[in-house]
Symmetry: C2
Subunit: 117 residues, 2 copies
């Protein structure tokens, strides 16, 4: 993980061969894990339809209920039914609650808040 880039868009080539591997569920959605490039923290799990995926790649920008995310890389898993989107998170966080990560509540009682991971 290199130094944090400025908050500028770096579009990813929309390759039809890549996109053809993506397997959407019966609602036409695929889960996308969103990970902070710098900290490695998992920020959120988003759901994208094909239109949103194409727009996310070509624009280089993520869309969540929280602050803006600048997409730096995107991966698809073995069978294409899950995505990993690596971003530079701008502002306070990815979560609509104001937390940096949506995963701040732990089973067994631990609450990491701003310190997940």
């Amino acid at each position: 993980m290199s130094e944090r880039a400025p908050f500028t868009a770096t579009p990813i080539a929309v390759d039809e061969a890549d996109l053809s591997v993506v397997a959407y569920n019966q609602d036409g959605l695929v889960p996308a894990i969103v990970q902070d490039r710098t900290t490695g923290d998992v920020l959120t799990l988003a759901w994208m339809d094909e239109t949103a995926l194409r727009r996310t790649l070509s624009s280089g920008k993520g869309e969540t209920s929280g602050d803006r995310q600048w997409v730096r890389a995107a991966y698809y898993d073995c069978d294409g039914d899950a995505l990993l989107v690596v971003v530079d998170q701008e502002g306070r966080g990815a979560c609509h609650t104001g937390e940096r990560s949506c995963f701040h509540r732990a089973f067994g009682g631990e609450d990491l808040s701003q310190d997940a991971g």
Copy 2:
């Protein structure tokens, strides 16, 4: 992230209040992001039913098609419909293909293989 623990189980308390927040989909499953505690790499996206979730927490062991995972922490997101499970990955990897991470194929052509993240 502290030093890698030995590959021993560290069960997590199964708290009914925590579990009651988990929202399963119409198939009775919840997506669980599996992240390597040491590297921060996202290894896979697994799906768990309530039985598997209880067993994963109480046993402290993950079940994937790849090598064994030792659960160190588990989180649920804002609305309980996604989980994050932080593990020590034993052996070669989480992916049935033999890759360490299932997310080794990138949109736009990059292939990270053993170097994801």
